[in-house]
């Protein structure tokens, strides 16, 4: 009984292996029950039955030992199952992680290796397990920094995280690896195993390096762009200044001559000096439009908003154009809605847009043609259409008309004066007001229609 009591504790405890023989002997006494130690359900059941059946015979002491034994067997089965589950669990983890994982014994020989280790480092299972880690892949793993980690650092620390190692492998080339190591006590003895996770961060490093480089390049580019923008704006200011100075003389003196301030000119002189004046003024409007384009493009164009009575503004500008149209014997048709509302916009810019468009239709419509303007309210906007029966735009040129300095090459356009910037600038000014701008033409010599909108309440309020 003394034995039994002692055994009761030890059976579940650490001394169990030493007592195994004693119990096996007892099992043999009551039949072939050895198989019940194996985790086989069917056999185990029959063994249990046998045990139960035998309980009826023998002494009380024997019965108690058997009962005790029965409990221990059940316990052992559970423990075995748990151990097996844990092993499967651990192996599944090792084989599931993408990161190569390797376990080494105390002599640094490979115990197990994850599948991904074989994939990443191109080594065969046959020449891996049982090998000294340094000998792997034909001694490719003889890496000084790895030796340092395994032989110097790990004996002092049981864990080590994110140890960066760079190595040139003959099979897979230069790799940068991040090593994470754990020293684990194995089983009940003092034997230790080393778990080594190897993360290949070569690509990540390259991406990081690339990102860093891209970031620097982007910064440099941004600095350069700012510099270019500043140089461009300085250049434009200088250009404007330098061109205006001689124009002051060209336009000023020709105007004084044309006005005959200092004496009469003959007809030819007057005509010629007027040609100089017209060309000078053309040059001036070119400079102004180039500057305006640059201002819009650099976001420096500011709108001075006010409430514009559109109906009277449109009539006013059409009067200016009526004179030009009359000279070319063009029929001008105005359809301005009686109830056209006011809009919130920049007066000078709106006048410029409408004047640009109306002078275009006069320029590009041959004598005897028709030109016109329609204006009406559409939802919260007003829509203005300027049209003509003139030279039109070939479909292949539809895109080019907004590029600047493009003029349709027709017999009419050769003789007409224009900067080629009126249309693109008008479009930009409309868009700056939050409106839409479009050009339609059925083709060459089939007329042109320009349609644009201006919101009644500016979306750029506060600018």
């Amino acid at each position: 009984m003394k034995d039994k009591k002692k055994n009761k504790g030890s059976l579940r405890g650490t001394k169990f292996p030493e007592r195994k023989d004693f119990f096996q002997r007892k099992i043999s006494e009551f039949g072939d029950l050895k198989s019940s130690l194996e985790p086989n359900k069917a056999e185990s059941k029959s063994a249990s039955r046998k045990l139960k059946n035998t309980v009826g015979i023998g002494t009380v002491a024997e019965r108690m030992i058997i009962k005790q034994l029965h409990q221990e067997i059940e316990q052992r089965k559970k423990t075995d199952q748990l151990a097996q589950d844990a092993r499967n669990y651990a192996e599944s983890i090792i084989n599931t992680v993408r990161e190569p994982l390797i376990s080494l014994d105390k002599d640094l020989r490979v115990v197990t290796v994850s599948r991904s280790f074989y994939d990443v480092f191109k080594v065969k299972p046959a020449e891996t397990v049982g090998q000294l880690i340094y000998d792997l892949g034909n001694k490719q793993w003889n890496i000084p920094k790895l030796r340092e980690l395994l032989e110097t650092i790990l004996p002092q620390k049981t864990t080590f995280d994110n140890y960066e190692v760079e190595h040139d492998f003959t099979t897979i080339g230069r790799r940068i690896m991040l090593l994470n190591a754990r020293q684990i006590q194995r089983g009940l003895g003092k034997e230790r195993i080393i778990l080594l996770a190897i993360e290949d961060i070569t690509e990540r490093k390259e991406i990081e390096k690339g990102l860093e480089k891209a970031h620097k390049e982007l910064n440099d580019l941004a600095t350069e762009l700012k510099r270019v923008a500043r140089v461009k704006s300085e250049f434009l200011a200088n250009m404007s200044h330098e061109l205006r100075t001689p124009l002051n003389s060209i336009n000023g003196f020709s105007e004084v001559l044309y006005d005959e301030t200092f004496g009469l000119l003959n007809e030819k002189q007057k005509k010629y000096v007027n040609n100089v004046l017209i060309s000078g003024k053309h040059l001036l409007s070119l400079i102004n439009q180039i500057l305006d384009m640059a201002k819009v493009e650099s976001g420096k164009m500011k709108l001075v908003l006010s409430n514009l009575p559109m109906k009277s503004l449109l009539s006013e500008i059409s009067l200016l154009v009526a004179d030009m149209a009359g000279k070319k014997n063009l029929q001008l048709l105005l359809e301005i809605d009686e109830n056209l509302p006011d809009v919130e916009a920049d007066e000078l810019k709106v006048k410029e847009i409408i004047y640009n468009l109306l002078s275009n239709v006069v320029k590009f419509t041959p004598e005897g043609g028709k030109i016109g303007m329609r204006a009406r309210k559409v939802d919260s906007e007003i829509e203005i259409v300027v049209w003509d029966t003139g030279v039109g735009i070939a479909s292949e040129n539809m895109e080019k008309i907004f590029e600047g300095f493009f003029r349709v090459d027709t017999p009419y356009s050769r003789i007409t004066e224009g900067t080629g910037l009126g249309l693109p600038l008008s479009k930009k000014l409309v868009e700056l007001h939050g409106g839409k701008f479009s050009v339609e033409s059925q083709g060459l010599n089939k007329g042109t229609l320009v349609r644009f909108t201006l919101p009644m309440m500016s979306r750029k309020a506060g600018v």
């Binding site: 434009l236 200011a237 404007s240 200044h241 330098e242 205006r244 100075t245 124009l247 002051n248 003389s249 060209i250 336009n251 000023g252 003196f253 105007e255 004084v256 006005d259 301030t261 200092f262 000078g280 001036l284 500057l291 420096k300």
Partner: protein
């Protein structure tokens, strides 16, 4: 008595054009090709109005104007800047000068004298 006007501009053509327009309109015109000469003439003649370029050979027009404004006898004379620097940056440096005006180049010869006369009391 004729109104006196001082024109300061280093460009001979601009000087000639402005002199012509002003003389035709009945002004007595004084000329200077740099700021130092202009300031000297201003002190001597006490013109009714000064017309000056912004970019002068010896200093910038606004700096010359500030010197004139410090002179008690001259601080009341209107100064009109006639400049080819018509962009916003060019106008900025003229803001703090009292009794000053701005005319962009090229000038309109038909309205120039009228614009100038508006600044004279």
């Amino acid at each position: 008595m004729k109104k006196k006007v001082l024109v300061i501009d280093d460009n001979a053509n601009n000087l000639l054009l402005e002199r012509d327009l002003l003389e035709v309109a009945g002004f007595e015109v004084f000329e200077a090709e740099n700021a130092a000469d202009g300031i000297a003439i201003a002190r001597k003649e006490k013109p009714n109005i000064i017309i000056m370029d912004v970019r002068l050979p010896d200093m910038r027009g606004p700096d010359a104007a500030r010197i004139l404004r410090q002179d008690k006898k001259l601080d009341d004379i209107p100064i009109i800047f006639v400049t080819a620097s018509v962009m916003a940056e060019g106008k900025e440096e003229l803001k703090d000068i009292t009794k000053s005006g701005f005319i962009g180049k090229p000038i309109n010869t038909r309205t120039f004298v009228k614009e100038i006369s508006q600044f004279i009391k």
